[in-house]
Structures are given as structure tokens and as C-alpha cells.
């Protein structure tokens, strides 16, 4: 198992390296000069060169990338800005704030959003899926199936605005979505994020209901479930210890991917609800041609997805001894 994890972590680092290099390359492929943006209206060639030098973009692209990479591992000396310790992701072009610090400030927001929503949709999605599987072919099953089909065809920017319009603006049932740190005021933290959680949950729940149902239905028809019944074990026992155990694997897989996506790809959600998380940071950094910030956010997002994938594989191995590795 540890060998497997080491191999996977190593692979993940390679992936992040490639992603950062591609981001770097793509950034310069866009015909947009970050120095021009800082230079303002009365820009002279001299000023431009100076700004270029200050931003560190006067070197050839590979050298810039190498400097950035070195900074991540051994830190980087920015001269007048002072020393940036490893892991150094550089300073924002736009506001000269350290990239790592900004990301760490925004991270709790995105994590609260993602995990809160995940808890809601796991409970409702898996619960409804279980009920549907037990009541196969009955009304509840059919209802859950069609509801989930409807839910999974919805999109956050659609449901989100509608929910905001009705529940916040019209009915006033929910507070305007906002983020308050949990440590500061748990009640505002909860009430501020409740609507985004529920909205995200509506969309994700559907998928989990369908998946849980189909996995359980499949597992319940497995031979070993029949054997367990033939041994005299009760229905409930067989359901949770045998069928559910088997159904868990694929659900965990999808959950891991979803969690990575929620954290890494929070752009639309955060824009919809005007919440200042990592996703908004990504949008802003693109708009401002803020290369260090964009790189930092991209690597973090990719890192989240890769990380949860490794976790999924590890959990899968714990669930299913057949794929447990030496």
C-alpha cells in the first residue's frame, strides 16, 4: 500500500509539473502584455522595460518558468520585495500580494462551500438511492429516478440565480450568500452558505441517487448476496454488510472526482453567488493577466483533483481486498 501511494504521489507531482508548464506556455500565447496593463496611459518604452524587469518577465519564457519552479522548491529572492521562502509561488502582478498568502486566505471559503455541499448531497443522494433500491419498481423508486433525472439536467448558473431571486430577494427565506469564517461566527457561516450548499446539492444529489440505486440494484442481484441470505443472515444485515459494501466503490470514486472538481472548479458557483473563493480568484487573475496568481490557482486546483484521486484509489483498496496492492 505505501509503495502504491509513493508511486501515485510521484506521478501526481509529474502531472502538476506538466500542468504548470502548459499554463505558462498558454499564458504567453495570449496576445496580451501584463506590463502594458500596469503601465497605464502615459507609457514610455523605458517605463515598460522597467516594469517588465520588475515583474521578471524580461527573461526568455523557459528561464522564467525555471525561476518560478525553483522558487516553489527553494524560495526566491525578489530583491526590493524581499525574500520569498519556499514554497514560493511569487507575487501577484496586479496587487503585489504574495500569491500563496492570497490563496490560503481564500481557501477556507472554497473548502466550506465544497465540503458543506458534499455533506448535504451525500446524505440525501445516497439515502434516496438506498430507499429506491430497496423499493425497486415501487412508487418511491420511480419518483426518485425521475426526480434525479430532472435534477441532473440542471445547471448551477441557472438554478443558482433562480434560487437567489426567489428565496433571497422575493421571499427573504435565506440570507444573501456570503462567507464568514467559521471561527468568527458559526451561525453566519452556516446561514451565509446554506443557499449555495442546497443549490449545489440539488444538482449533485440527483447523480448520487441514480448511482447509488443502480449500484445497489446490481449488487443485490449478485450471487454472494444470495449466498449471504442462504446462510440465514437477515435482509438488513445483507443489505449493509454485503450489498452496500460492494456498491461503495464506484460511489467513492465519483465522490472523489466531484470533490476535486468542487474545490478546483468553483469558478461558476462562486461567481453565481458572489462568494470570494478560489474560483473568483481564478477569474480575476485571468482578467488582470496576473500570471503568478493564475499559475498558483491552476496548480492548486489541479492538485486538489489529483489529491482526491489518490485518496479515492486508497479508499477503494481498503473497501475491496481484490485490488489491494502488495
Amino acid at each position: 500500500m505505501s509503495r502504491f501511494l509513493i508511486r501515485r504521489v510521484f506521478g501526481a507531482l509529474v502531472i502538476l509539473l506538466i500542468i504548470s508548464a502548459i499554463t505558462f506556455g498558454l499564458f504567453y500565447a495570449i496576445p496580451r502584455d501584463p506590463a502594458m496593463m500596469s503601465c497605464g496611459k502615459n507609457c514610455t518604452p523605458d517605463m515598460l522595460a522597467q516594469i517588465r524587469h520588475n515583474l521578471g518577465i524580461d527573461h526568455p519564457i523557459p528561464v522564467q518558468y525555471w525561476d518560478w519552479l525553483k522558487g516553489v522548491f527553494v524560495g526566491r529572492d525578489y530583491g526590493s520585495f524581499g525574500n520569498c521562502n519556499a514554497p514560493c509561488l511569487g507575487y501577484s502582478f496586479a496587487n503585489r500580494e504574495p500569491v500563496l498568502g492570497t490563496i490560503l486566505d481564500r481557501l477556507p471559503t472554497t473548502l466550506s462551500l465544497a465540503f458543506g455541499a458534499a455533506i448535504v448531497f451525500l446524505i440525501f443522494g445516497v439515502g434516496a438511492g438506498m430507499l429506491a433500491a430497496v423499493k425497486q419498481g415501487k412508487f418511491l423508486d420511480k419518483f426518485a429516478s425521475s426526480a434525479s433525472l430532472f435534477g441532473s439536467s440542471l445547471q448551477i448558473y441557472f438554478v443558482g440565480y433562480i434560487a437567489m431571486f426567489f428565496f433571497v430577494a422575493k421571499l427573504g427565506l435565506f440570507a444573501q450568500p456570503s462567507y464568514t469564517p467559521l471561527s468568527e461566527d458559526p451561525v453566519s457561516w452556516f446561514s451565509g452558505l446554506l443557499l449555495p450548499w442546497l443549490t449545489l446539492a440539488i444538482i449533485f444529489t440527483a447523480n448520487y441517487t441514480r448511482m447509488t440505486r443502480s449500484q445497489l440494484v446490481e449488487q443485490l442481484s449478485e450471487d454472494y448476496v444470495r449466498t449471504a441470505r442462504a446462510k440465514g443472515l437477515s435482509r438488513a444485515n445483507v443489505f449493509f454488510r454485503f450489498a452496500w459494501r460492494g456498491a461503495m466503490g464506484p460511489i467513492v470514486t465519483v465522490f472523489g472526482i466531484d470533490l476535486g472538481t468542487l474545490i478546483g472548479g468553483a469558478i461558476i458557483t462562486e461567481s453565481t453567488f458572489s462568494i470570494q473563493g478560489i474560483g473568483r480568484l481564478a477569474v480575476d487573475s485571468v482578467n488582470k493577466s496576473d500570471l503568478p496568481m493564475l499559475l498558483g490557482v491552476t496548480v492548486l486546483s489541479a492538485g486538489a483533483i489529483v489529491f482526491f484521486n489518490i485518496i479515492v484509489d486508497a479508499v477503494y483498496a481498503l473497501i475491496d481486498p481484490r485490488i489491494r496492492l502488495a
Binding site: R3, I6, R7, F10, A326
Partner: protein, 346 residues
């Protein structure tokens, strides 16, 4: 074997599947010796049976002959032409003469194609335009395999298991093959249907002069269908002979044990064969026993068996063409000392 030039000539055929592992970088750490040095010939119009238990390499052999797998070593000659490592172009003419029938009639037919399309597929791929067109030929083939030619436009799911296997046979016949490799063609079928398909294949062999490599685990079916039979164990042929010789005078202890394990549908109190119960399991082909691969389960094994692999030869007392790979071949009056399975439990 009337012809000195066999249709198919296999020498030293070997297939090792690499096993990857290791740390931190995966590399080849071993090999599954699925097939390890097979020698056999198939004459024109002859049926050679390949029998053995799961994991003996019989199916791999079938896939090597049809070149669905690339051999690791040895040579395969078809009508004198070496096809061991032949490329796509060189293989093309041979492929149409060597066809395959598979075990699972459900999985080996494309469910979205009509029977007509399935059977004419091989002709189209090989650019063969039979006189009268594809449809006429397909109808003939359907009739040959005992299906209604009017079912030309039906889909596989509209047929029963036995009928699907007949479709598979018709497809194999479409290119007028000289050799058919049949991998467990009847083992997924019900007993009564199995007999229908065996009879059909037998008619084809006799009427069309098609040679067969008939791969099966069922010794009785093989005895019924194949004029010559090779018994495989753990990637090697342990005995090969004409069927009368093999079934009536088995010389390899494994052949004998295998035959004695087959339950016969008779109500006689005295079994026709003395019971020999093999103990334990077939060893892993990843790390097969040294010397004779059967020695770990053989009641006759000695030191010699562990050090020296017995060659496949005509041992004393064998008829022409009856080859056995054993240092201590069975004779008719050898009384083996069978170890009962109970002994293991003790």
C-alpha cells in the same frame, strides 16, 4: 497422417506473458509460461483435440495458431509457409484459410448486425465476391449449418444458444477455410444442443474436408470428435496419440488420472476405470515445477522427475505416433497407488 507435408506444423511453440511489478518503477519481474515448447502437426482434413484443465494453455495455443497472439518463441508453419511472425499483409491470405469458433455464442456475435451481415462480413473484408452474390452464399451457409435461410435478416438475440453457435460456424465457413480452430465450441451449451453442434462439426469435417484444432476440457467430447488427441498440462503436451491409443492405453499418469476422473453415465457398480484421485491444485504457471511439471501431483515422481524434464517421445510399447512425456510411463498392468483426497485433510 497420410500426407508427409502437414497442413499445420508447430515446433517449439512458446508464449510467455510478462508480469510487471517492482518498485519504484514497474518492470518485468517474471513471466507466466502459458505455453512452453509445443510440437505438433495437423494433417489436412484431420481433427486434433487439445484437452487439459483450466490454465494448461490450450486456449492460448489456439490463439497463437490463429495469430491472435504473438508467439514468444518457436515456429508455426501453415502449408510450409512460416507464419510465426508474419505481418498483416503476409497473413491476409492465410487468415482466410484458418478460422476460429469461440466458446461464447452470445459474446462473439455483434448484437447490432443481422445474421446476414455477420456471416458475409469475412467475405467483404477479404474482398471475396462469390458467384450469385453475398446473400446467396450466406443463405447456402445458413442451410449448411442447419438454420433457416429465411432468417437472413434476423439479429443474434432472436436465436437460441445452439443456433447462435451455428451462426458462428457459418461465419467461420464463409471463407471456405482449410483449418478451423474451435475453442470450447460446445461447453456453454445444454447437453442436447451440444450433441447437435458436435454432429454438425463432424459433418463439416467429413464432407468439406476441413481440418480442426478442437480445444475442449471435456474428454468424452474430444474422443468423439478428434482422430488425434493431445493432452496438455501446465503449458506442455504430456501425451499425444491417436484417440484409440490415448483413451485405451494412456501412458502418461496425468492422462490416466484425467480419464479416471470423468464420471460416466452408467449404473454399473464397478467403474470402468480404476479411480485415481489427484491431490492438490495445478501449480502456478508463473513458477512451474522443475523437471516434469506434473511431478508435484504424481504418485510416481522420483528425484529424476525433479531434475530432468521428460521429452515427448515414443516410449517403449507405444504405437507409431503415440508420444508420451514421462520417465515412468504407465503400462496396462501398472497398479498405481492412488492417494485419496482424504489424505490431504489428515
Amino acid at each position: 497422417m497420410s500426407n508427409t507435408n502437414p497442413l499445420l506444423d508447430v515446433t517449439g511453440l512458446t508464449k510467455h506473458f510478462p508480469v510487471m511489478g517492482g518498485f519504484p518503477f514497474k518492470r518485468k519481474i517474471g513471466a507466466v509460461q502459458a505455453v512452453d515448447g509445443l510440437d505438433f502437426q495437423v494433417a489436412e482434413g484431420e481433427s486434433l483435440g487439445l484437452v487439459g484443465e483450466s490454465g494448461c494453455g490450450k486456449s492460448t495455443t489456439g490463439r497463437l495458431i490463429t495469430r491472435l497472439l504473438e508467439p514468444t518463441g518457436g515456429s508455426i508453419k501453415y502449408r510450409g509457409q512460416d507464419i510465426t511472425h508474419a505481418g498483416r499483409k503476409q497473413l491476409a491470405p492465410v487468415r482466410s484459410e484458418i478460422q476460429m469458433i469461440f466458446q461464447d455464442p452470445y459474446a462473439s456475435l455483434n448484437p447490432r448486425q443481422t445474421v446476414g451481415k455477420i456471416i458475409s462480413g469475412p467475405m467483404e473484408i477479404n474482398g471475396i465476391n462469390p458467384p450469385g452474390g453475398h446473400e446467396k452464399r450466406v443463405r447456402e451457409l445458413l442451410e449448411t449449418v442447419g438454420l433457416n435461410p429465411e432468417h437472413y435478416n434476423r439479429f443474434p438475440h432472436e436465436f437460441s444458444g445452439g443456433q447462435r453457435q451455428r451462426i458462428g460456424v457459418a461465419r467461420a465457413l464463409a471463407l471456405e477455410p482449410k483449418l478451423i480452430v474451435a475453442d470450447e465450441p460446445v461447453s456453454a451449451l445444454d447437453v442436447s444442443i451440444q450433441a447437435q453442434v458436435v454432429n454438425l462439426l463432424q459433418e463439416l469435417q467429413q464432407d468439406l474436408g476441413i481440418a480442426f484444432v478442437f480445444i475442449a476440457h471435456d474428454l468424452a467430447v474430444v474422443r468423439h470428435f478428434s482422430q488425434r488427441v493431445a493432452v496438455m498440462y501446465l503449458g506442455k503436451i504430456v501425451e499425444i496419440a491417436d484417440r484409440e491409443d490415448l483413451y485405451d492405453n494412456p501412458r502418461h499418469p496425468y492422462t490416466r488420472a484425467l480419464l479416471s476422473a470423468v464420471p460416466e453415465a452408467t449404473a454399473d457398480d464397478i467403474p470402468a476405470r480404476e479411480r485415481i484421485r489427484l491431490t492438490g491444485d495445478v501449480p502456478s504457471p508463473l513458477n512451474p515445477p522443475s523437471g516434469c511439471r506434473f511431478r508435484t501431483r504424481c504418485w510416481k515422481a522420483t528425484e529424476k522427475c525433479a531434475t530432468e524434464a521428460p521429452p515427448l517421445v515414443q516410449v517403449a510399447g507405444n504405437k507409431e505416433g503415440h508420444l508420451t512425456a514421462c520417465h515412468y510411463p504407465e503400462t496396462h498392468d501398472t497398479v498405481p497407488a492412488p492417494r485419496l483426497s482424504k489424505d490431504v485433510a489428515a
